[in-house]
């Protein structure tokens, strides 16, 4: 009796401890992401967040319905963009809701601040979701350890610092939360949780294109359960409603629409849905029929089933083969075949976050998690439950996808954190248990010291699904105690010190990375001066505000697509192309204009009603990601649609891309060259450098002196990073069009003759 009471008291204490620990973790997760606001200012970062911010602003002015049907005539001129039907509304609606609630509470906050702080807020939620997920998979200890790791894992910080108002900011939370709901449903077999899973999935689908990862991971898990003979009613309740309702949910998001049933990404779930039913039917029949009739039935079904299956397979294959991409979207296909994009879709390959990551980035982005995760994978097998099987599959697939694209490191991050958390919790609890075993008289103290780890030891008594609970019961210290001898006390202490040392290093690294590497908003640049001061380069905003103050609101501004979102959001001007790369031809048209000689480019821009063109130029201060360095992509994308643009013309004779006197002829004649280097040689960016010295390419430019005939420089920012040009009007007068039949004055005729003669001699 007293024993029970003290156990209950211990549990309550443990729960309170867990509560406080989670609170601390959430605070940490949010505050570590505020470096960008402290070091810079509360601004929206980079490129895509500007679009989200602009739509959120629209939402705050016009409301949800208008946003859902938002037709944007300010972008992709003159095509326009059906924003409501081509965006994932989750993030924007989330921030809009927060803003509306704050307004209702009479908190007059600007929508920009809401947008800036959405990501830190949701990373706290993500920590909670991770805790819940791992609690379902293994127990509170693993949950706490995983939450503590994901709170500061650099990979996730990189996309969720304050101001990084991108889809991933809420999508990673949604991803983990859907996993939690799935595992919860799997463990409980409750329809209520299945319903919650549907809503969670709806939010995920509304938030990020990465939902297709879930849409394939869940079928893989289900398939694995079928193969490993783990089919149960709980699995059915978790999986089957999700397939149907999930597809309906996806179909209701306009950007997905009928893709939810047409594209190959979604086939797996339906296929496994069928298999699951078959497996259950076989189970049922096996139970009902006597063994002999079962064998007969099996033969019958196999014969007919194979025929039917072959027929269906033929149909599916013919449907899939009829589509040029085999029914897959380009981005998904580039996941399966990492070389696909670079071969066929330059526009996908041109984005740096679509490149495969380097090995070092695994260590930078995951740090200790990358070391602990394999151990976590191993621990998933001891014991192997449905939930830990899920975690296992999630980890393995995420590792593969992260190898394809840098961007998908983000999907790996929660997996790595959960696995690392699992390993960490098991190791710590084992060491703590060893410590406790060696000094049983001081058990209370040991529990206090091991803190989070000890919390994992008590099994959850309120578990439904008895078998599962029994398995789990043996999980915590149980299997350790059962199969492994406790290590000596000294070894345990050293082990614990090592674990905490490792974690401290991880935290130190993460905070450093959060502060130094991932907080730059990339629209404001900083550099350290020798005296330790900070030099700020605010050229982008300078130029955008020049555009917004000095040009007509109806003017169209052209630039490479990277700057489209920023131009519409900050300068509030119509752009030709932007970061939503939905129309390759339109982007290729701009690429072609940039790659063409001045007159042809002028004609192209005139035909698009462009009034201003700007280029980003880094040669003056040494900013490497400028348009000259991106230029080859413009050539490739332009050449992909317009064959008159040939990449070889823009390379030097030895096949290199260079800007010095050996530069390719096409490059020297191109509009990009002229707009970038116009008047450049007449300035002296660096003391002692030769005339026309480009600090990015470390070369003296090949053609320093030329005139512009069809463009007029109207603005160049302080550090020459943004150069704005006006596209000149058609001349008022058709002048100097000499009539070919004009009679020549004898004198001048003689002169021409003479010149011709001398030309012949030469």
């Amino acid at each position: 009796m007293a024993d029970q009471a003290s156990a209950a008291k211990g549990r309550a204490l443990g729960n309170v401890l867990v509560g406080f620990a989670m609170l601390a973790i959430c605070l940490l997760a949010s505050s570590v992401r505020l470096f960008s606001v402290i070091k810079y200012e509360s601004v929206i970062h980079e490129f895509d967040p500007y679009f989200n911010y602009r739509v959120t602003r629209f939402l705050s002015e016009k409301g949800f319905y208008e946003t859902w049907d938002f037709f944007d005539s300010f972008t992709w001129y003159p095509l326009g963009r059906v924003v409501g039907g081509t965006m994932y509304p989750g993030l924007i609606f989330t921030a809009g809701t927060i803003w509306n609630v704050l307004q209702k509470l009479n908190i007059p906050i600007h929508v920009q601040e809401v947008c800036v702080f959405t990501a830190p807020l949701f990373s706290a939620f993500c920590a909670i979701a991770t805790y819940l997920f791992m609690k379902e998979v293994r127990g509170q200890g693993a949950g706490l350890a995983s939450a503590a790791i994901i709170a500061v894992v650099p990979s996730y910080i990189s996309r969720s610092v304050a101001g990084s108002y991108d889809l991933e900011a809420v999508a990673i939370f949604a991803l983990v939360f859907v996993f939690y709901l799935y595992v919860k449903t799997l463990n409980t077999g409750s329809l209520a949780w299945a319903t919650a899973l549907f809503f969670g999935y709806l939010y995920m689908v509304a938030s990020w294109g990465g939902y297709s990862f879930i849409a394939n991971l869940l079928p893989i898990h289900c398939l694995a359960c079928i193969v490993f003979n783990r089919v149960s009613s709980r699995l059915y309740i978790a999986y089957a409603p999700w397939v149907i309702l999930g597809a309906l949910a996806a179909a209701n998001i306009p950007v997905i629409g009928f893709n939810a049933v047409l594209m190959s990404e979604h086939f797996a779930s339906f296929f496994v849905f069928g298999l699951l039913h078959a497996a259950l039917a076989i189970q049922y029949i096996h139970k009902m029929l006597p063994p002999r009739s079962y064998e007969a039935a099996k033969r019958l079904v196999l014969t007919f089933g194979t025929t039917a299956l072959a027929l269906v397979a033929a149909l599916v294959v013919s449907y899939v083969a009829a589509s040029p991409t085999f029914g897959w979207t380009g981005r998904s296909l580039s996941l399966l075949d990492p070389t696909y994009a670079s071969k066929y879709i330059p526009i996908i390959a041109s984005v740096s976050e679509h490149q495969p990551p380097s090995w070092s980035s695994y260590f930078t982005d995951l740090h200790i998690a990358s070391l602990l995760a394999p151990a976590g994978l191993l621990l998933c097998f001891r014991p192997l439950t449905d939930a830990s099987l899920f975690l296992l599959l999630y980890g393995v697939t995420a590792v593969y996808f992260s190898g394809v694209m840098v961007r998908l490191m983000l999907v790996l991050a929660p997996a790595a954190c959960c696995l690392a958390g699992l390993a960490l919790s098991e190791v710590t609890s084992y060491l703590a248990a060893s410590l406790a075993a060696s000094q049983p008289e001081k058990e209370d103290k040991g529990e206090g010291a091991a803190g989070e780890a000890s919390a994992s030891t008590p099994a959850k008594p309120d578990k439904k699904g008895g078998k599962q609970a029994a398995k789990k019961g043996g999980a915590g210290g149980g299997w350790m105690a059962g199969s492994l001898q406790p290590v000596p006390r000294d070894v345990a202490i050293v082990g614990l010190i090592l674990v905490f040392g490792g974690m401290s290093l991880f935290y130190k690294h993460s905070v450093y990375v959060a502060g130094e590497m991932y907080s730059a908003p990339s629209i404001v640049l900083q550099s350290r001066r020798p005296d330790g001061g900070v030099k700020v380069f605010d050229d982008f905003r300078e130029a955008y505000s020049w555009l917004s103050h000095n040009t007509d609101p109806d003017d169209k501004v052209a630039s490479w697509w990277d700057y489209g979102y920023q131009t519409t959001a900050m300068a509030n001007r119509t752009v030709i192309v932007d970061n939503n790369t939905w129309n390759n031809t339109h982007i290729a048209t701009v690429g072609r204009a940039m790659a063409s000689p001045e007159k042809k480019a002028w004609q192209i821009f005139r035909s698009l009603d462009v009034k201003y063109v700007f280029v980003v130029f880094g040669g003056y201060i040494g900013y490497p990601s400028d348009d000259i360095n991106k230029f080859l992509w413009m050539v490739r994308i332009g050449g992909g649609v317009f064959p008159d643009i040939k990449e070889s013309n823009y390379l030097s004779s030895d096949g290199n891309y260079r800007v010095d006197d050996k530069a390719g002829k096409g490059l020297l004649d191109s509009l990009m060259w002229k707009l970038s280097y116009y008047r450049f040689a007449d300035t002296s960016p660096m003391f002692g450098a030769p005339r026309g010295y480009d600090r990015v390419r470390n070369a003296v430019i090949g053609r320093p002196d030329f005139q512009l005939h069809y463009f007029e420089e109207v603005f160049t920012s302080e550090h020459w990073m943004m150069r704005v040009y006006r596209v000149l009007d058609k001349p008022n007068r058709d002048n100097r069009m000499r009539n070919p039949r004009r009679s020549k004055v004898a004198k001048s005729a003689a002169k021409t003759k003479q010149r011709k003669a001398s030309g012949a001699l030469a």
Binding site: D69, L79, G80, P731, R738, P740, S743
Partner: protein
Amino acid sequence: MAPASALLAAALLCAAAVAAAAAGQQQRVLVLADDPAAIKASHSKFLASLKQRGYRGDVKAIGSKGLQLKEWDDWLYDKLVIFGGSKALGGAVDVEQLVEFVDAGHDLLLAVDSGVSEELRALADQLGVDVDASGHAVIDHFSYDAATGAKDRASVLASNYVQSEAVLPGGLKAPVLYRGVGLSIAPGSETAFAALRGSPTAYSGRTDAAQTEAKLAGPAITLVALVQLRNNARVAVAGSVDMLSDAAFAAEATDRNNKNLGRVANEAFCSAISKWAFQERGVLRASNLSHRVVSGAHPGAVKPERYRINDEVEFSVEIRECADGACKPFKASDVQVELVMLDPYVRTTLSHDDAGRFSTQVKVPDSYGVFKWVLDYRRLGYSYIELTETVPIRPFKHNEYERFIVQAYPYYTSIASMMAGFLAVGAFFLWTK
């Protein structure tokens, strides 16, 4: 002297400004000539006709030191007539400023001669008209005026004039007596056209030397060129100063057989040319551009911010033709309007109601985007009309589609029957044991 004259000019200017204000719409014209006194005497009829048409201003020497077209940013004159000689431009005036004058929307009548100064030649070149080589003249051995050009055959009778109601309403009854240099217009020119061309037998050459080859010959020789710049400023360039003189106005034409052809048409022609150049003829004024939705998302909406795809809309614009001081409804059956997004999706002819209102009703395309109405009307002799009006076309909103469609009735039935079946099975399952 110079400051005094400047002061005087300023005083005159003030007076002129006051007078102009008093006279209402009187326009200020400056006539420049090598020798003002001589021009006043020889071209008195032409100058008088200008005055009679309501222009006020003065005749000045082209090389005068105090010559000024512009004070600060104000143009002192609305129109300019230059009888070009060999003297250089004086005062603050140079070719660049003259070009600026027309670029600012002012009109210019330039008459030159074979011995014209390089500056005026460059000016003509800037305006898209090429003056033939110095010392050359237009010669015609067949259609010359026997009375004045029997010797050098350089007084030609030209009757190859432009067929345009806007420039020469009613045409000319008699040939124009022309003694001067040939002009030419490049074939690619979009702004210039010839009001008077050489006859098929005319050529440009030196009068003092025999010539076997002429590059510039026949109708390719422009005698009088008219230029309408893209800002609708107008310029007339005549290759002859003499054709505007009193003597030419009064001359009788005599053909090579010494047959009297009666009074030459110089007076009528020069009057028409100067009227056209000074925006008294062939001026189109477009106003009240409007468009409205006839049927669709918001029927009756005038100048809506957006159309929805497949809306039925009406486009209308008022065009009036101004000639000889009066504006009356323009009547033409070839005014077109386009609805453009990269390419024209709709191109249709506007019909008019005889009161100057041009309109048409179109169905906007079944594709969304930022469309613009483009009315680009360019006809010989008329001022250009270039109107654009941007109206984006949006797709249907999510709640603007039909709620139920006939084709889907089988599916509705299937869903309803499924629901009924599920309820029935559920009831059976729950309440039977």
